[in-house]
């Protein structure tokens, strides 16, 4: 098992390498550079050159890449071009916990809601409830998540005032779990919706698949009640492929956080990324992209390990 984990981690290295090259290359294709933003009428031309020089923007591209990669390997993502003097690492460290929290909670929501729904749907196949669940999942797939988010804000926050409009916590108040939850619940739920729909469909078909298996028939023939059959004999088997799906879902999940963070003013790396992208803050963009990809890789690693834990047939 540990050999497997090591192998998977090693496999991630060339992966991340390719990722860094792609992201760096993309940045360099960009027209316009960050100094364009500082078009202050009162800037002196020589100051501009010096400014570029101080950030190494005048160097050869390969040199810039090498320098960046070398630093990054040591945990140094460079300094923000916009936020002078602030290490990118600090920016990311300040934001990452928020994103991770959001993703964790919404993953939990997604799984907690969609798996039971899918399982229920599968066991009541072709019933009215099944059709209803199926239709709602399709709706969930087809509705842009930002739209759901905006609507919820309009109705629940602005009109009814039940939830705050954005942010992670009330400013200036002492830390309280309830306050954090209060802020978290809408964005986490909306981020969960898109994948929830797919996940429900997937757990349904996964459960249906399991219910067709011979060992389910065995369990039934042994006189176990339907509930026991489904939960004790079926569920764990049905969960195994769902774990893999989690790994596959992860990129879109992290990608989706950009939108959700924008909608809910959630100060995570998605929002950081959006700002950086608009401002061409290369070091930040590249760091976020690499970290997001690393998150995906780690998520997949976790999924694989979980898979191995859940499925005794897999031996490494």
């Amino acid at each position: 098992m540990s050999a497997y984990i090591i192998r998977r981690s090693l496999m991630a290295i060339p992966l991340l390498f390719i990722i860094t090259i792609i992201s760096f290359a993309m940045m360099r294709m960009a027209p316009g550079d960050p100094t364009a933003l500082m078009m202050d009428p009162m800037i002196k031309q020589e100051n501009l050159t010096a400014y570029k020089e101080s950030y190494g923007l005048n160097d050869n591209v390969v040199v810039q890449y090498g320098r960046w990669l070398g630093n990054m390997v040591q945990g140094n993502f460079g300094e923000s071009l916009i936020r002078q003097g602030v290490p990118v690492k600090d920016l990311i460290l300040a934001r990452l916990p928020n994103t991770l929290l959001l993703m964790l909670v919404s993953t939990i929501i997604a799984f907690l809601i969609s798996i039971p729904l899918g399982v229920y749907s599968a066991t009541r196949r072709n019933s009215k409830t099944d059709y209803a669940i199926t239709f709602i999942s399709f709706l969930g797939i087809a509705t842009p998540s930002f739209w759901i988010g905006l609507m919820l804000i309009m109705v629940l926050s602005v009109h009814l005032g039940w939830f705050p409009i954005g942010g992670v916590a009330n400013i200036g108040e002492p830390f309280s779990i309830w306050d954090r939850l209060h802020h978290l619940i809408l964005p986490a739920f909306v981020l969960a919706t898109a994948d929830m729909a797919g996940l429900t469909r997937y757990s349904r078909s996964s459960m249906l698949d399991v219910l067709r298996q011979d060992y389910i028939r065995t369990a039934k023939a042994n006189g176990f009640r339907e509930r026991t059959v489904i939960f004790r004999h079926g569920l764990r088997n049905a969960l195994i492929p769902i774990i893999t799906i989690f790994g596959l879902m992860l990129p879109s999940f992290i990608g989706g956080s950009v939108i959700i963070e924008s909608v809910f003013a959630w100060p995570g790396i998605g929002l950081l990324f959006m700002d950086a992208a608009f401002q061409r803050d290369y070091p930040v963009i590249m760091a976020v992209v690499v970290i997001a990809a690393a998150l995906v890789v780690i998520g997949n690693l976790l999924a694989d390990i979980l898979y191995a834990v859940f499925d005794p047939r897999i031996e490494y």
Partner: protein
């Protein structure tokens, strides 16, 4: 040689001739039959048919010029003059929706066509030849897949101006990986299937095996994923539009129509303005999903009728 007690007649037909069990029915009819059984899929197909038709015939169907502004009719509610209301520049929403359908569907279809093409070629090569080539290609696919695609889309769209062509290109370039994996999987398993082995023992060349034996059998999943992909791209364009990075106005797309209605002032005061593009996106994506589901059934050899 077999020893037999009874002398055996030679030259007679081995057994009485048997008629075919089922009367001859082309595959597509069988698939159609399976498809028609999925009611949602039929509804989806009808919807899609209507939407695509509306897009094609937009110039004839649209009551007004979609870019004709009557600033005084800004945000006019649905009524006689404007069946679905007017937007914030006094343009006819219905006409813009019809022309927007062209753009949204064009972006959807074109980028999916591109990504399916790339994905199929890469997946087919990797799956059929296997070995080192497969390993290298799949590592690359892994890398591209590990990028949260929205991050890439945003980065690229901020780099290149978000014209229709660049959007199509970007969606195509980052949408192919799923197809590649899918096709590779299909090829890997089909490559070992007995009918492919049989073709090999008969001396059929690789190219022909790929195109005439494996590909047609892998077509089902490819078409299904393409169908779902179009819906995905339409949603993706809407998401980019939300961030101001989708198809750029004044060219109407459903995404940017929705985006221009984001203003809370409009959302509260002129509900019809965001409603219709939103509905179009929803309906179209829904229809694509239904159709995809039906096609999945139709192509699935396991589901017998």
């Amino acid at each position: 040689m077999t020893l037999t007690e009874e002398p055996r007649l030679t030259g007679r037909p081995a057994l009485p001739e048997e008629p075919a069990v089922a009367p001859h029915e082309p595959i597509w009819k069988l698939m159609l039959r399976k498809y028609m059984k999925n009611k949602l899929a039929v509804i989806g197909a009808v919807l899609l048919f209507l939407i695509i038709g509306a897009a094609i015939f937009a110039p004839w169907l649209a009551p007004k010029d979609p870019s004709q502004q009557v600033l005084l009719d800004k945000l006019a509610p649905p009524g006689k003059d404007y069946p679905l209301g007017a937007d914030n520049l006094g343009r006819d929403t219905l006409s813009r929706l019809l022309f927007g359908a062209r753009i949204s569907l064009l972006v959807g279809f074109a980028s999916v066509a591109g990504s399916i093409f790339i994905g199929t070629v890469v997946g087919a090569v990797a799956g059929y030849y296997g070995g080192k080539l497969d390993a290298v290609l799949m590592r690359f696919v892994d890398a591209v897949i590990s990028f949260p695609s929205l991050f890439l889309l945003i980065t690229l769209v901020t780099i290149f101006e978000p014209s229709i062509m660049t959007l199509i290109g970007i969606f195509a370039i980052f949408g192919w990986t799923g197809t590649a994996r899918l096709v590779r999987g299909e090829f890997l398993s089909l490559r070992k299937s007995e009918f492919v082995l049989a073709a090999r023992t008969l001396g059929i060349r690789n190219g022909r095996i790929i195109f005439s034996h494996i590909l047609p059998n892998a077509l089902g999943p490819i078409i299904v994923s393409a169908t779902l992909g179009v819906g995905g791209v339409i949603l993706g364009e809407a998401a980019l539009s939300y961030l101001g990075l989708g198809i750029q106005p004044p060219t109407p797309s459903w995404g940017n129509m929705l985006q221009s209605a984001q203003n809370p002032q409009i959302m509260l005061g002129a509900w019809w303005y965001p409603l219709f593009p939103g509905l179009m996106i929803l309906t179209t994506v829904l229809a694509f999903n239904f159709v995809g589901d039906g096609l999945r059934d139709a192509f699935d050899p396991k589901i017998e009728d």
